[in-house]
């Protein structure tokens, strides 16, 4: 047992492992950057940086590689064991120990961000309000009933529960609170509803003269628009078929159990503990060209009866109730002076939001201590020579 532990410590505390891991991280960053040209940021981030293993294709040659997630986990262990536990601890190594602790905090913040954060956006025209933000990439199905007082009761199904309903597979969604089951089929990660013409046949169902046409996945994953077929199956076996599409203007309405139900495929939504209203969006262009020099959003943050004005600009996000709202973009692209513009605020809920800053302060402090001690030693030696 002792031998095993010693072996573990020797391997995981070695400087050679640190160098190998850092080189691998550099390689993954390089390969991932190149892959973004063809596969877009989102796909590459999942494949190269959030994975434990991946297969990189150099032409037709498959090369198995560790994913950045695994490399960073190993680096964390390597730093914790080699840089903290096994390093000699005295005044001479204090700075290095502190710097290593800072790097560990930095890595930890990355893990917290990856596993415990939500991010998305709020897109608003002037005078519009929102009390939720939505994901750029993930989808959900919401089954809503009208409670009659301006509120909706939503039953929400995450993407994992229906995204495999492709080919021959279907996904049945049910709840004791629903008087029906929803059968999802022909899920398409990128699709377009298309009217069925008389001159061609399609391999998928046609509902109300419309079918869902699958499209190749776009490199920019946020431009993919998911779609699916649904059948609402009531307890007496009555079926109502419909098409869901991620960019529809209105949800599918079905009547079941004597009530109307709205079924919607939409980007995953996250509730905000406040409402935000865009009061004014300001875009200042560079002289004589239609390229913005700066843009900002004057918003009202509404909590209950209270409302307060806030300006969100590119370098001044709003931090409120654990959320950070950044000025991200605007649209529509190519708008002319006088056109109605919308503002897109990127929203992040990250419990480790401040950790990178603290990590950098700790690392800087460690390096200052270490190099100050080195400098003092050099000065002393020179003075004594």
């Amino acid at each position: 047992m002792r031998v095993l532990l010693d072996g573990f410590l020797r391997v995981f505390s070695s400087l050679a492992l640190s160098v190998a891991l850092l080189l691998m991280l550099g390689l993954l960053t390089w390969l991932g950057t190149l892959e973004q040209v063809d596969h877009g940021l989102f796909e590459v981030q999942k494949r190269y940086f959030e994975s434990f293993f991946l297969v990189h294709h150099a032409g037709s040659i498959p090369i198995p590689l560790p994913g950045a997630n695994l490399v960073l986990c190993l680096l964390f262990v390597n730093l914790a064991v080699g840089g903290m536990a096994r390093m000699r601890r005295d005044r001479r190594t204090a700075g290095i120990l502190i710097a290593h602790a800072g790097i560990l905090i930095l890595l930890l913040s990355g893990f917290v961000k990856m596993y415990f954060s939500d991010d998305g956006h709020v897109t608003l025209f002037e005078d519009q309000r929102a009390n939720h933000f939505e994901s750029y990439y993930r989808w959900e199905i919401a089954i809503a009933e009208d409670l009659g007082d301006g509120r909706l009761r939503e039953h929400v199904v995450p993407q994992e529960d229906f995204a495999d309903a492709q080919g021959d597979r279907t996904a049945r969604l049910g709840s004791p609170e629903l008087p029906f089951e929803v059968e999802v089929s022909h899920y398409m990660p990128n699709s377009r509803p298309t009217p069925k013409g008389p001159m061609f046949e399609v391999a998928v169902p046609v509902v109300d003269g419309v079918f869902l046409q699958g499209r190749e996945l776009a490199a920019e994953a946020e431009t993919n628009i998911a779609g699916a077929y649904v059948s609402v199956v009531e307890r007496d076996g009555t079926r109502t078929d419909g098409i869901l599409w991620g960019m529809d203007a209105h949800p599918l309405t079905v009547t079941a159990g004597g009530k109307d139900w709205a079924i919607d495929l939409r980007h995953e939504r996250y509730a905000m503990p406040f409402t935000i209203e865009l009061e004014k969006f300001t875009k200042v262009d560079h002289p004589r060209i239609n390229m913005p020099k700066e843009f900002s959003s004057d918003v009202a943050v509404i909590e209950g009866e209270a409302s307060r004005p806030v300006k969100i600009s590119m370098n001044e996000p709003l931090r409120e109730a654990g959320l950070v709202l950044y000025q991200a973009s605007w649209g529509p692209g190519g708008a002319r002076p006088g056109d109605r513009l919308f503002s897109t605020l990127s929203v992040v809920r990250n419990p480790a939001d401040k950790l990178p800053l603290y990590a950098c302060i700790v690392i800087a402090a460690g390096l200052v201590i270490h190099f100050t001690r080195k400098l003092a030693g050099y000065v002393r030696r020179e003075a004594g020579a």
Binding site: N131, R153, E154, P193, P195, F200, D248, H250
Partner: protein, 198 residues
């Protein structure tokens, strides 16, 4: 053991797999964005339109018979399926300024079907169509169309480029030659019908 056998039989027969997933998340929400419309039709939900007069933000036009207007996308201000064929598309793209240049865009189109680029003199000699208060240049190229993972063998591309003082208007018809060739006159009529609003 019986479960295993039946599972293997089910998989072997290619039966439609279906398992019930319980919807676990329920919440009450108060929409503050105006909500949505109940009982909307498919046309209203998906933004589908048939032939006839139509408009997008700053253009008005007449949709030829047999064309179906489908939902716009980020780069397509107006988007049509020609003859109901999902492979044959016509769409209008509006870009600020000169949109990167008429010749550059014409050559980008030609590159998509593997055709050689035009010189400035070639571009100036292209046929024209009356559109948007002036003349647009008609670019045409045939070959194998590739864009992303999309590929059409024996494709025909017909495009119209019209530069306005503050705007570049691109109209592109692309699809199999057998479908695009008969739609040529409709395409030109569509270009002639374009009008600037506001």
């Amino acid at each position: 053991m019986a479960v295993l056998v039946w599972t293997l039989v089910g998989v072997g027969c290619g039966s439609r797999e279906s398992r019930l997933r319980t919807v676990e998340t329920a919440r009450v929400v108060t929409p503050v964005d105006g909500g949505f419309r109940w009982h909307a039709t498919s046309e209203e939900r998906f933004g589908l339109r048939g032939p006839g007069p139509a408009q997008v933000a700053e253009l008005a036009y007449s949709v030829p018979d047999g064309w179906l207007q489908v939902a716009p996308t980020a780069m397509r201000a107006a988007n049509f399926l020609v003859g109901g064929d999902p492979e044959t598309e016509c769409y209008v793209t509006l870009l600020a300024g000169d949109g990167g240049g008429a010749l550059a865009n014409a050559n980008r189109w030609r590159g998509q079907v593997g055709a050689s680029p035009l010189s400035s003199a070639d571009y100036d000699a292209l046929p024209r169509v009356a559109m948007l208060g002036g003349e647009g240049s008609i670019v045409e190229a045939a070959g194998t169309f590739t864009s992303g993972e999309r590929k059409i063998d024996e494709a025909l591309l017909i495009g119209a480029v019209r530069l306005l003082p503050d705007r570049a208007v691109f109209v592109k018809l692309i699809g199999p030659r057998a479908k695009v060739e008969p739609a040529r006159e409709d395409f030109l009529a569509f270009c002639r019908s374009l009008e600037r609003r506001g």
